[in-house]
């Protein structure tokens, strides 16, 4: 029930090619991550929609293989 940060980044890069991704493995167990992701794709979306887009990008792994992913989504500054 764990997932490497490389794997997470790979999923996110596929869905958000322009994204700047900052990922921290909070306790070093490949199971508790904090991700900050900045992408144009979030423009005009509500926060809930932005997070749903990220969960979608993780293709069902969130809540199953990935237990704890603290998420922060951002739109790049102009």
């Amino acid at each position: 029930m764990a997932m490497s940060s490389e794997k997470i980044i790979q999923f996110l890069k596929e869905a958000f090619p322009d994204a700047m991704i900052d990922i921290k493995d909070l306790v070093g167990d490949n199971d508790h991550f904090a991700v900050e992701i900045t992408s144009q794709a979030f423009q005009g979306k509500t926060r809930i929609q932005q997070h749903q887009m990220v969960y979608e990008a993780l293709q069902g792994h969130m809540g199953t293989h990935l237990h704890a992913l603290s998420l922060k989504t951002k739109v790049p500054m102009e």
């Binding site: 809930i48 997070h51 809540g63």
Partner: protein, 109 residues
Amino acid sequence: MSALFDQIQNDISNHDVVLFMKGNEKFPMCGFSATVVQILKRLGVSFKAIDVLQDMELREGIKAFTNWPTIPQLYIKGEFVGGCDIAREMYQSGELQSLLKDKGIPYTE
């Protein structure tokens, strides 16, 4: 499943603030649930806590209902507000307080 969705719909319609969480407000069983409880308590908001650990069907059903893969889930006036990250972000920025004010739900500053 639809009886369960009806029950969820009832719960979020009949209570201004509902938190689907792991454990209860006295004994949260997960750090994310505990964080949201703490925020609501700090704001002095009364809320209905629903412990999804008591009901496996609800635990999965609420994820499908909201289209959100994780617990906790905060509902205000029947609308999904977010999970732990969004609730915390909104609390820190004051957006959560504005939302409560807009919805006419009493809270303390």
